[in-house]
């Protein structure tokens, strides 16, 4: 899949209904197909998840396996994509505006998934652990990851020239990426209330009901596709915002030059 590189196609008549329709289109056939696949699979995941049987240990709450681990997976992926795109931007040979836009777009999506990871984990924790929150290693590093990603998004919004802003936020993205493996392996490195890594616990002789594994794996695929669809559109938003920002700057410079010229003539 290629990310949208080209700006929205220009239209010839400003303000005409046809122009407004063309400009308001939000994707291509590929992004439409991706969207249908992503949201369709998500709907199937929800249906399968809600239909999972009760377990002896957790009753109906095991059904949350269809959403919580997949949401956490995408939170990791989004932060790592931000870090990789930041590295691509930091290396002079591979530097491109697209890399910075992908980094910013992926970080915002990562923040959404990170918040969902904490919320769904908390909702799962309340009936099974008896508490909404506990300061164990996995939960604390998850909260820290969200805080760093939100910090990254705040740094991106500091009004500075694009290049300065991109360089500064790229370094912060690398710091956020370090937290991903720490968060993932926290359940092994420290004694935590959180269960171990879901997929690592699966063994050939495991008696776990295949429906749980199926719903969880489908959830991984569905959430990944939703992430890619969101990334596609969010990158377009970033590109359009940058284009408008540069256009504003250009307009301001033209106005300033005209002012200076008229001042000198007067």
């Amino acid at each position: 899949m290629t990310l949208p590189d080209a700006p929205v196609p220009a239209v010839d008549v400003a303000g005409a209904p046809a122009a407004a329709t063309a400009a308001s289109r939000t994707g291509t056939v590929a992004s439409l197909g991706l969207g249908i696949a992503a949201w369709g699979l998500l709907a199937i995941t929800v249906g399968l998840g809600l239909g999972l049987p009760q377990t002896v240990e957790q009753g109906v709450y095991s059904r949350l396996i269809a959403v919580h681990p997949p949401v956490a997976w995408v939170a990791y992926v989004a932060v790592l994509v931000t870090a990789v795109a930041s590295v691509v931007w930091l290396v002079p040979r591979t530097r491109s505006v697209t890399a910075d836009l992908v980094a910013g777009a992926s970080a915002e999506i990562g923040a959404v998934f990170c918040a969902l990871m904490l919320a769904t984990g908390s909702i799962w924790g309340r009936p099974t652990w008896g508490v909404w929150w506990v300061w164990d290693a996995r939960l604390t590093t998850s909260a820290l990851l969200l805080a760093v990603v939100l910090g990254y998004l705040a740094v991106r919004r500091i009004p500075d020239p694009h290049e300065v802003r991109a360089r500064r936020s790229a370094w912060l993205a690398l710091a956020a990426a370090v937290l991903v493996p720490v968060n993932h392996f926290a359940v092994e490195w420290w004694r935590t209330l959180h269960q171990g890594r879901s997929l690592a616990q699966l063994t050939p002789g495991d008696d776990l009901d295949g429906r749980f594994i199926g719903a969880m794996l489908l959830g991984f695929v569905a959430m990944t596709l939703v992430y890619l669809w969101l990334l596609w559109h969010r990158v377009r938003v970033e590109r359009l915002a940058l284009e408008l920002e540069e256009s504003d700057l250009e307009t301001a410079l033209i106005a300033r030059r005209a002012e200076a010229t008229s001042g000198a003539a007067g």
Partner: protein, 41 residues
């Protein structure tokens, strides 16, 4: 079952809401950029 529905509902609700917001923003900025790109008659 309330916790399960809350977990699924929150996830789907947030993703659909965020996706809708992104699409709306893309449409708004697309229209603005399109007007800027078109030279005045």
């Amino acid at each position: 079952m309330g916790y399960v529905l809350a977990g699924f509902g929150l996830t789907v609700g947030v993703l659909v809401g965020y996706g809708g917001w992104v699409l709306r923003r893309e449409q708004t900025l697309g229209r603005l950029a399109s007007r800027r790109r078109t030279p005045p008659r």
